[in-house]
């Protein structure tokens, strides 16, 4: 009897307390923020990130190897087209020119000498031809002089060809010598100076130290180059307005216009998806010092301003059904203290609002936050409006 009583009490404890708590304790209401469905002005836009760049920018690299003997510019200095900016030690190249010049001279002397040999043999050949015709010279001797004369003429021809060869080498050496003087190809400013006097400049295109000398850019030609995802590129057109925010000046939005769209896609760094490079020309901007290489994000407005039925973006939840390949959007409507899951059809959006095409009427109260509650809200959950909303 006693045992039965104890185990009955235990069973009551185990089942009774949790069930009593569940069904009789006043349910904790989830405190939510609400907003009404209203007409909003939406500027449909596409967000993308990229970098500020100079439209006209050249990277100078060395075409010959050598120690930098003189640097005529410093970073930030303005330079004009054709201005000497850097000189590479030319001792070796001057010596090479002199050597090739001497070879040319030597070849010219050799040709003069061969010319005299040919003239001499020509005279001999004429005399011996007359003697041969008078039968005073045997055939062997005549053939010998004829052969000598022909070979001498060929040697002269070879001498001329040899001269062309050494002259070409001389031109090559002069060209190498001229490349020891680096000049600016454009009017602009030195935006990056990657080498110092005494360091060795290395020719080549690989990114090794010494291969890049400096970058010269036209500061007036600053633009933003953003990477637009291939899914969005169809909505971008030349001439569309954009708002650009350089990360360094996040409080100062810059105006811009789409200037060009790349014709082919590429895989941008740090991403696996394809994107198109879109160049945005910067408008008249506030007095801020923009520098190439600065990170920026841009909002390109793909459609004009429109007044439409909309809800805050944060109120919209998405449910994916991978089996049916369906993506459904829904919001929670506040109805008699209960969150009612309501499916919607969403249209265009901007940073804050999303257009409602179907599912909601103007003036309906929808639950917009806080995010941590909305994210886990279920259809039929009892909710209360948060104090700051009441």
């Amino acid at each position: 009897m006693k045992k039965a009583l104890v185990f009955t009490l235990m069973a009551a404890l185990v089942v009774g307390i949790p069930l009593t708590k569940k069904y009789f304790k006043s349910e904790t209401l989830k405190e939510v923020e609400i907003e009404q469905v209203t007409m909003q002005t939406i500027k449909a836009s596409i967000l993308a990130s990229g970098q500020l760049k100079h439209e006209e920018e050249v990277k100078l690299s060395a075409e010959v190897i050598g120690k930098v003997s003189k640097l005529y510019v410093e970073e930030g200095q303005k330079v004009s087209k054709g201005q000497l900016v850097l000189k590479i030690d030319d001792q070796t190249y001057v010596a090479a020119v002199e050597q090739q010049q001497a070879a040319v001279d030597q070849q010219r002397v050799a040709i003069e000498r061969q010319k005299m040999v040919v003239e001499n043999l020509a005279r001999q050949w004429k005399r011996k031809t007359k003697l041969f015709e008078q039968k005073l010279l045997d055939t062997d001797a005549y053939d010998a002089i004829t052969h000598q004369y022909s070979v001498a003429k060929i040697d002269l021809k070879a001498g001329y060809e040899q001269l062309k060869q050494v002259e070409a080498r001389l031109e090559q050496s002069k060209d190498q010598l001229s490349k020891t003087k680096v000049v600016s190809p454009i009017d602009g400013t030195i935006t990056s100076l990657d080498i110092k006097e005494g360091e060795t400049a290395i020719s080549g295109t690989t990114n090794i130290v010494g291969s890049s000398l400096m970058t010269i850019a036209d500061p007036q030609s600053m633009l933003a180059e953003i990477n637009v995802d291939e899914a969005d590129i169809a909505n971008i057109n030349v001439g569309q307005k954009a708002e650009i925010i350089a990360i360094a000046f996040s409080d100062t939005p810059l105006s811009g216009t789409v200037e060009s769209i790349a014709s082919s896609a590429k895989v941008s760094r740090g991403s696996q998806s394809l994107s198109f490079a879109v160049k945005l020309k910067l408008g008249e901007n506030a007095d801020i010092s923009l520098r190439p290489g600065m990170s920026c994000r841009a909002e390109v407005f793909t459609r004009g301003e429109q007044n439409m039925l909309a809800v805050p973006v944060k109120a919209i939840q998405t449910e994916e059904d991978n089996d049916k390949d369906l993506v459904e959007n829904f919001v929670f409507v506040l109805s008699d203290g209960v969150a009612k899951k309501t499916q919607i059809k969403a249209g265009i959006s901007d940073d804050s609002f999303q257009q409602i095409l179907e599912g909601l009427d103007k003036g309906v109260s929808i639950i917009t936050g806080p995010d941590k509650i909305v994210r886990h809200l279920k259809d039929g959950d009892k909710v209360a409006i948060a104090d700051n909303e009441a």
């Binding site: 045992k3 104890v6 235990m10 307390i17 949790p18 569940k22 994210r375 886990h376």
Partner: protein, 247 residues
């Protein structure tokens, strides 16, 4: 010849060992009798495995029912005050990499090992006390003693299971799962930290276990109830004292 109360020979055990199920019934309804029986035969496996397996089953059931996305957010939120935003994101990513069943399996194994470790530590404490008082009891006897005395904790486990199985939305936080905890029954404090957390991890069955330990200790060693209570309560005082210091 009079038999020693500590005679644990096979012959003695065979002749006097009551069934574990009888002890199980008596530990709740007639504890004096249960400890009398346990003095001669002290099975460990039955109570220990019952407690460990039921707790493991509870954790697996919890993670099978839980709204995992909500749970991840809840766990991250619990750490929000102590870690940076980047660390929270890392924690979220780490948890999202694990499936609920994997998390449940891992949690169940950890809980099983934890319970066994706690009982071993408690038994070790009684072994040390035995060493001082020379009462002749050994580790296995004390482990059996502690395990049987902890059986009331099953009520908390079963009550938690009722909460899990009657949940409709799966939004169950482990720290407020036990409806028999002091926090759930009386205080309703924030169970995530501080005093609320201590109260949430202490349920009323603990007092039942302390009472059983006192009765059993007194029965086994012949010490009076006050002395037995003082010895039994000391580890609990130490444990809660340390937790209070870190609030």
């Amino acid at each position: 010849m009079t038999k020693s109360p500590y005679d644990v020979s096979e012959e003695n055990l065979a002749s006097e060992s009551p069934k574990s199920l009888t002890i199980f019934t008596n530990i709740f309804a007639a504890p004096q009798k249960a400890y009398e029986d346990l003095k001669y035969a002290y099975p460990v496996a039955f109570p220990l495995l019952t407690i460990v397996l039921l707790n493991m089953a509870l954790i697996i059931a919890l993670y099978a029912t839980i709204d995992y996305e909500w749970f991840v957010d809840h766990m991250v939120e619990m750490q929000a005050g102590d870690v940076t935003k980047a660390e929270q994101d890392q924690m979220r990513q780490g948890m999202e990499m694990m499936s609920p069943s994997m998390m449940g399996g891992f949690g169940a194994v950890m809980a099983g090992l934890g319970i066994a470790a706690i009982y071993c530590i408690q038994a070790l404490y009684f072994v040390i006390v035995s060493g001082i008082t020379n009462d002749g009891f050994q580790f296995k006897q004390w482990l059996s003693f502690v395990s049987w005395s902890s059986l009331p904790s099953l009520l908390g486990t079963l009550a938690s299971a009722v909460v899990v199985f009657t949940s409709t939305d799966g939004q169950l936080s482990p720290e407020s799962l036990n409806p028999l905890s002091l926090n759930e029954l009386f205080f309703g404090m924030n169970a995530i930290e501080g005093m609320g957390n201590i109260l949430a991890t202490t349920d009323i069955t603990m007092f039942w276990s302390i009472a059983l330990l006192t009765i059993g200790y007194s029965k086994w060693t012949g010490k009076d109830t006050i002395k037995s209570f003082m010895i039994v309560i000391l580890p609990f005082v130490l444990y809660y004292g340390i937790r209070l210091l870190f609030i």
